[in-house]
Each structure stands twice: as C-alpha cells, then as structure tokens.
C-alpha cells in the first residue's frame, strides 16, 4: 500500500524549487553565485543560461573606485586557494551608470554585494542601490576593516556589526542580506546582533584568513602576506557555522563555503541553509551553478520531496 501510495504521489507531486527569503526576495531555485567569483554574470553567459540561476550576487561594490591590492593576489592551496583582491571595483556610480543597464534585464535576482571602510560609505552606497528598480537585495559584506575604528573588522565585533547594519537598515528598504566572516570566536553572537539590527537574512561564510609561503624564495606568496581562503577545504567549517547559526536565529541563512557540487549544496540545505551560494567552484567548472540546481531537483525527485523545506537533517 505504502509503495503504491508513494508511486502515485510521485507522479502527482508538483515539485517546487522556489524559495521565498522574505521582503520580496524570491529565488526560482536555491542556487546563487558568491560575490567576486562570478563577475557581473555576463562573463559566464557563454557557459550557462543565467536565467536558470536563482540569484547572481555581483562583485563587491564600494562608494568610490578601488584599485585593489598589488599582484600577486592569489595562491593555490591544497583543495582551495587564497585571494587578496582587495575589493577592486569602479565604485557604485560607475556600476549604476555602466553595468546596471547591461545586467538589469537578466531574468534572475541581481544582488549587489556592498562593502565599505566606514559606516557612512556603506550607507551612501546602499542608499544609491536602493533606487535601482531591478535590484531586489543587497548583500552587506561586513568583513571589511573599519578604518575609523583602528581597522578592526565590522563583522568581528557584535556591537560594530549591529551598528553598521542598523544604519544601512535605515536607508535600505529592500531585502538586506548580511554576509558574515568566519574569522571570529563566536559567529552566533554576530548573527544575533545583525538579526536584531534588522537584517532580512545572513549569508555565511566569507573567506577564512590564511597565508601561503614560498619556501624556495622564503617569501609570502601574496602581496598582502595574508588572504582569504576559499574552495573545497573550507566546507567543514562552513557547514558547522551554518548549522550553529541556523539553530540560533529566525531569519533565513544562506550557506556558502566550499560548495563544489550538488552533494555539497544539499549538505548545506541539511545544515539549515535556505539557499546556497557557489563561489570558487565557478573557476573550476564555469557551468557548475546550473548543474547544482539540476542536482538539487534530482535529489528532491529521488526523495519524493515537493518543496525545499522538506530537505531536513535527521539528527
């Protein structure tokens, strides 16, 4: 009986891969691209149908033009890499004038990652993006150092995290994602702080601070000596943090960090993420986003799940 019921229901079930993250941010599937790994999307248009991606989070955008750090900015590490790009971008006005018109009609959620070095810059940038009709959300990168407070990262102190999110919240009326850094002792306290400051969701993890040394030359590989580690090697840490944060807050968690394939993505959904971002894997397989989206659909089909909410860990 049970078997027949299952078979019948399988044919009747209409599978729904959409996910509503709240405040107007609805993804057609839970797969997004991580900022800084997918350009503005158009760089990958030859490889994937961009409209098949749940959301494209474009490059980190700051109030003013930034040249970024000197070369070398990248080091390959076991199962991953370090980068120290340093938020190279042409500034928010250039984005609005030259890039937004090129990408605004892509049939997906175009989300802008916003960075800054002081609260005023974050606020000014968010306010300008708030006016862009086709941008339903921003992702606030609070991993940056606060130059007015001795360079300590906004995201490493609950009070500073709360302050920057509260100020941005006052001017930004659409969906506000806050991206958390893993380089903290207690990520839950930061997540709770940004939730209380009015974030609509959190995404985690940003890169982990690391270092690579060239033994032959007896020199650090990166011009900045240290850099952000990403790739397959960070996944266990990312999963742990997504699990901890999902259990502690009531806003949606977007999981990222070392997702290389659909199985990795499903693990994040099981850990409590409502959606995921694919980052470094785009460099290895430029078509990975749509493969993961398809993989999640197949997983749902195999397990007779009709919605993403049914993907839950048995613990």
């Amino acid at each position: 009986m049970v078997k027949i019921h299952k078979k019948t229901s399988q044919t009747l079930i209409k599978m729904n891969t959409t996910i509503d993250l709240g405040k107007g941010l609805v993804l057609k599937n839970p797969v997004m691209t991580a900022s800084g790994t997918f350009g503005y999307g158009i760089e990958f248009a030859d490889f994937v149908d961009l409209s098949q991606i749940g959301g494209i989070i474009v490059k980190g955008t700051t109030l003013h033009h930034r040249e970024g750090n000197p070369y070398p900015r990248m080091a390959e590490t076991p199962s991953g890499m370090l980068n120290a790009v340093g938020l190279q971008n042409k500034g928010v006005d250039y984005f609005i004038e030259h890039i937004y018109p090129e990408i605004k009609d892509i049939d997906t959620n175009i989300i802008v990652n916003v960075s800054g070095s002081c609260i005023e810059d974050y606020v000014a940038t968010a306010e300008k993006i708030n006016d862009l009709e086709k941008i339903p959300a921003i992702e606030l990168n609070i991993s940056c150092p606060n130059v007015k407070k001795g360079g300590m990262g906004f995201g490493t102190d609950p009070n500073q995290a709360k302050e920057v999110v509260s100020e941005v919240r006052k001017v930004y009326k659409k969906h506000l994602i806050v991206k958390l850094t893993p380089n903290v002792t207690d990520i839950v306290s930061i997540a709770k702080a940004v939730e209380s400051a009015g974030a609509d969701s959190v995404s985690l993890i940003n890169t982990m601070l690391g270092m690579a040394i060239d033994a032959k030359k007896r020199k650090p590989i990166l011009s900045t000596i240290t850099g952000g580690m990403s790739g397959a090697c960070v996944k266990p840490v990312a999963l742990r943090m997504v699990w901890q944060v999902s259990n502690a807050i009531n806003i949606p968690v977007i999981g990222l960090g070392g997702i290389m394939n659909e199985t990795d993505a499903i693990e994040f959904l099981l850990a409590g993420a409502k959606a995921i971002e694919i980052g470094t894997a785009n460099f290895i397989d430029p078509a990975i986003t749509i493969k993961v989206a398809e993989g999640i659909r197949n997983y749902m089909k195999e397990n007779n799940f009709s919605s993403l909410n049914e993907i839950k860990m048995d613990i």
């Binding site: 350009g39 000197p70 080091a75």
Partner: protein, 255 residues
C-alpha cells in the same frame, strides 16, 4: 568570441625532452575558432594539490586535422600530472580565452620573439601571419640546443633565428643580443617569454620606436575576468591578464 567548455580527446602526447611535452587534442565536433595568442584552461583532476585549472597558450591549430596543439613545460604539480596523460584520454578545457595578438594591425616585417616555453604562441602567430601573406622572422631563445623545440615547424612559416645561452646552437647569448637587431629593421614586435626577457625587448623596441606586443602569464584562477586575481598594473590601472590580456602593448605597461 564565444567561449566553450569542451572535452577534447588527446590524440598524441609527445615528450620532447625531460621538461617539455606536446599535446595534440581533437574532437568529434569542429573545434572553436581561436586567435593566435589566446589560451585554454585545462582542468586537472585527481589531486588536492592541483585545485585550479591551468592556463596554457595555444601553440598551433590544424584546421584540416581538427587539432589544437599545446606545448607545455613541466613547472609544477599541475603540468607534471598533465604530462602523464595518454592518447585516447579526454581533457576538459575552457577556450578560447584572452585577447590574442593584433595581427590586423598595419605592418609588413614583424619579428616574433619567443623565450623558453614562450615560443609556444609564436608558432600559431607565425602560421596566421603566413596565411595573411606576411612572412615573419622568428627569433627563438633557449638555454641550450636541447630546449629549442620544433624548429622544423617554425621553419614552415618563416625564417628562424636562434640564440642559446651556452652557444650550443645559433648565436650565443640572449635574444636581445642577436646580430639581426643591428643588421635589419622591423616594424612590429610580438613576444612571449620570461618577464626579464620581455622587459629587455620592450626597452629595445621603445629605443627603436617599434610597436611591441607582449604576452604575460600572471597566475590566474577564473580565466574570464571575474575573479580579478591575475591583474597587471598597467598605465590604465589594474587589468586582468586573462581577459584584457594576455597580450598587452608594451607602452601600456609600467615597465
């Protein structure tokens, strides 16, 4: 130019000496159009030490045989692993990437200078120039005779001059010391090789007022201008070697 992700079959893996090997790749499908100076990114799986794709310049394309050739030097774990691939196996590549050399420019007597593995794109460039009716002069430099590879291929498309550091073949010394610089004049330089060599050539080109294009090989990740890891500090600011380059006019570089 449209970029593709393709599984190409290894038709031949020819070990030229201890450190160089030549891969000839093919496909059931017609290969994509490519330009001289463009490159491919090869996926190398199966090791935690080789995480990213490896950018390799296009050495030669044979339209009739539907082949793309890659001349590769073993310099690390990625190229070492790649050197072991056998004919019949498949390689996943993303291509064609980068801008390529500007062969549409107006010149009649180009000098194509390659040093070490930097000779690789010069063969395809020479072939494309010959197709256009321009006979190039190749100036190829290496440590010693055994590192001067595929001279017979270069000779198909133009005159070949060589230098070796030990004098075992051609003129002794560096490419910038070759006597041809005194004897003849050129109206375009294209070069690829070690940075000190290209810097010396760029300086010489400036002195002689010859337009000079150089191909850079900064360490890169995405290959499509998305990650901004491979930037070169140019007179126009940081530019991606993978998508704005790898070919730059030497006058735009801060050399």
């Amino acid at each position: 130019m449209k970029k593709y992700i393709a599984d190409l079959q290894v038709k031949e893996n020819q070990h030229l000496n201890n450190s160089y090997f030549l891969l000839k790749l093919t496909s059931d499908q017609p290969l994509a159009e490519t330009k001289a100076g463009q490159f491919v990114e090869i996926r190398i799986d199966g090791s935690k030490d080789v995480f990213l794709r490896r950018p390799i310049s296009i050495h030669y394309t044979d339209k009739e045989k539907n082949e793309i050739w890659l001349l590769i030097q073993k310099v690390g774990k990625g190229t070492e692993q790649l050197s072991k691939i056998k004919s019949g196996e498949f390689l996943n590549i993303v291509y064609p990437l980068g801008n390529g050399f500007s062969i549409e420019k107006n010149f009649s007597k180009p000098l194509l200078i390659g040093g070490g593995v930097g000779v690789a794109p010069m063969l395809e460039l020479g072939a494309k120039l010959k197709e256009k009716g321009i006979e190039p002069t190749f100036l190829l430099g290496a440590r010693s005779a055994k590192d001067l590879l595929e001279l017979e291929m270069f000779e198909k498309f133009g005159r070949v001059l060589t230098t070796t550091e030990d004098g075992s073949v051609g003129e002794k010394g560096f490419v910038t010391q070759h006597s041809v610089w005194e004897k003849e004049s050129f109206d375009q330089i294209f070069t690829c090789g070690p940075t000190p060599m290209m810097k010396a050539i760029a300086k010489l080109a400036t002195e002689k007022q010859i337009d000079c294009e150089v191909s850079l090989e900064n360490k890169m990740a995405c290959g499509v201008g998305a990650c901004l890891c491979c930037v070169e500090d140019t007179k126009d600011g940081h530019r991606c070697v993978c998508s704005d380059g790898p070919v730059f006019n030497s006058k735009n570089l801060k050399w």
